[in-house]
Symmetry: C2
Subunit: 366 residues, 2 copies
């Protein structure tokens, strides 16, 4: 009862509705708490109620002020937990940005001059965000001048996503409802050809997978740590959050059942309160359901990067699997699962809801 | 009756609903046609019905198979005409891309190697798309290392936007409902500092204005022209539309009541069917309400560019106004109005619904 992540589930013949996970069961919240806000097919109406309602719901659940039989997970179908408004993807790992700079722009300084001054980010495609378990078709696209076909450098990006509950703009805790794991699938060949000068587009927009479970911020209070030292000192608007909002989550990336990386979230350079402050400093408003993700979580140590392009160093050093297989990028049929754990509020670790996906062959272009 | 653009309007005490513009009047379509799909506060339900319903509605309107009194425009409030799903902004003018390349990257070839091979584009922020007439606050932001404050290079981008009606992916006419004028406000100083390597973000995301009226494709049939010659020849997937979808629209940009530019849409390099084919070739699906815009419409002739940064050549050659004022970028209180006309189906020209906005001083950062 120290985690209590929220999701949307259905049972045979019943419409999707909000549930909370308790171990290997789901509690139907509309039934258990008698509140119609949970009868919606997404978390959005509940998230829009704001922090007081979030706290009160969590308290009622923890104090067992409810009456219903939790349903075994095996009997439910899980759905996209919220309706995604705008999706922003940041680029907050110093190591990831440095590694990709080296590979994409070998003749330049790996970090652009702006990188240490602001959390670099861009908008992604909301309409292709899918729930964990959705198969991912290998994208077709241009991989160079006159070169067209299925991506041959299909990659993952292990990320943490932050889900906005309350519209407007203001302090982190007043707006952000919780976190979810994100796999920002990336076709590196399409991306490398298209991304100048306006950024990634089709190399990312075919699919982004998220966990079916959103972990409320309250469940992460024991995971909060100081952010990493930042030099130069960020501008005032990036230092006002009442943090700390560094998060001591350990991610794990499984490829066909074998863990190939353990990205450490606490090593991220920019913290999520800074992402939010930056995202809104120009006056841009928030909407319920906005999702902003951290960018690939990559640690400094080898084997702790959140993408295959880093783990295989641009394909030069294939990742060796225990069964003798090797991988540079993803092959058809591969399954990637990202999980994460964090210190819980009662001393036990909590395991965030994982995000998984299997690669299907490219669709034929007719 | 050769135009019949659609919008969403309200009168005192009545909820917003769909109307069609007839001269200086609005026809309440739910009342006139007796169809509840028009009682919605957005065009989305009607747009989702698809081309057969669009044609039939247009025919009934043109054949005067309706009974209601059109309401004078002066008695209605106009609203955002559709609920925006994903917003993509392209970069389809050869002249604009060349001009901006020269200014942003003076030491390089102005066009990146990919530009003639694909319509370059990126995702923008849907949640800050506002209807014409909404005041635009000058954005705050980082303009360089350690430099923060209101943008001092606030600009416009005169664009044409294409509104998706039918989800899925397929032929242009089966999915695109119509067009609307777009002003993609741009803070050039914020953009220049932030945009590497992931593209424009806060320099654009504070606001994008669109016309309250969506012109159906059918009204533009006489405006269709061959697209511009393309060299190299585009890949097959970019040449399959059953076009032509070049469009002979003439835009006009008014600054404080004076026309300062007349961007010619027919000079655009990439056509909207190519934008759509590219957007979806990786498998990305469409949703009702997706908006994709052309990017700034700039002609080859001087004085026919769709942005101030081009008209003033990066501030070096201020635009002179008739009243003696000059402008490089926008000042507080300035009003910009973008309009457009096109050959109509009956030989008379049609005037697209204009998009206007006035600049307010920057909000103070507290």
């Amino acid at each position: 009862m120290n985690h209590l992540p929220y999701g949307v589930f259905s049972t045979t013949g019943q419409a999707p509705r909000v549930g909370v996970r308790i171990g290997n069961h789901v509690l139907d919240l509309a039934a258990a708490l008698g509140d119609e806000v949970f009868a919606a097919p997404s978390l959005n109406p509940f998230m829009a109620l704001g922090p007081v309602a979030w706290r009160e719901t969590r308290r009622r659940l923890q104090d067992h002020e409810w009456d219903a039989d939790p349903i075994p997970l095996g009997q439910v179908t899980l759905h996209l937990p919220f309706e995604v408004a705008d999706y922003v993807d940041f680029y907050c790992s110093l190591e990831h940005a440095t590694n990709l700079g080296r590979m994409f722009r070998p003749d330049e300084e790996p970090l652009k001059p702006n990188w240490r001054h602001l959390p670099v980010g861009y908008h992604g495609r909301s309409g292709t965000i899918v729930v964990s378990g959705t198969p991912i078709s290998r994208p077709n696209g241009q991989r160079g001048a006159g070169v067209f076909g299925p991506s041959v450098r299909l990659d993952i990006e292990a990320e943490l996503g932050f889900v906005v509950g309350v519209p407007g703009s203001g302090a982190f805790e007043d707006h952000v409802f919780g976190v979810t794991l994100v796999n920002d699938w990336s076709a590196r060949d399409i991306q490398a050809w298209e991304y100048v000068p306006l950024g990634p587009f089709l190399g990312k927009s075919f699919a982004t997978s998220i966990s079916p479970w959103v972990t409320p911020l309250a469940a992460l209070s024991a995971a909060r740590v100081d952010g990493r030292a930042q030099d130069p000192r960020p501008l005032d608007y990036l230092r006002r959050s009442g943090g700390p909002w560094g998060l001591d989550l350990e991610l794990a990336v499984e490829l066909n059942g074998e863990i190939v990386s353990r990205p450490p979230y606490r090593e991220m350079y920019w913290t999520p309160d800074q992402m939010l402050a930056h995202l809104t400093v120009n006056g841009a408003s928030l909407r319920t359901g906005d999702l902003f993700a951290s960018g690939t979580v990559s640690g400094a140590e080898n084997g702790r990067q959140g993408s295959l392009i880093e783990l295989s160093w641009n394909g030069a050093e294939p990742v060796k699997l225990a069964n003798g297989d090797t991988r540079t990028f993803l092959e058809d049929g591969d399954t990637v699962t990202i999980s994460a754990s964090a210190p819980g509020t009662d001393g036990n670790r909590i395991s965030l809801g994982e995000v998984t996906g299997t690669i299907l062959p490219a669709r034929s272009i007719t």
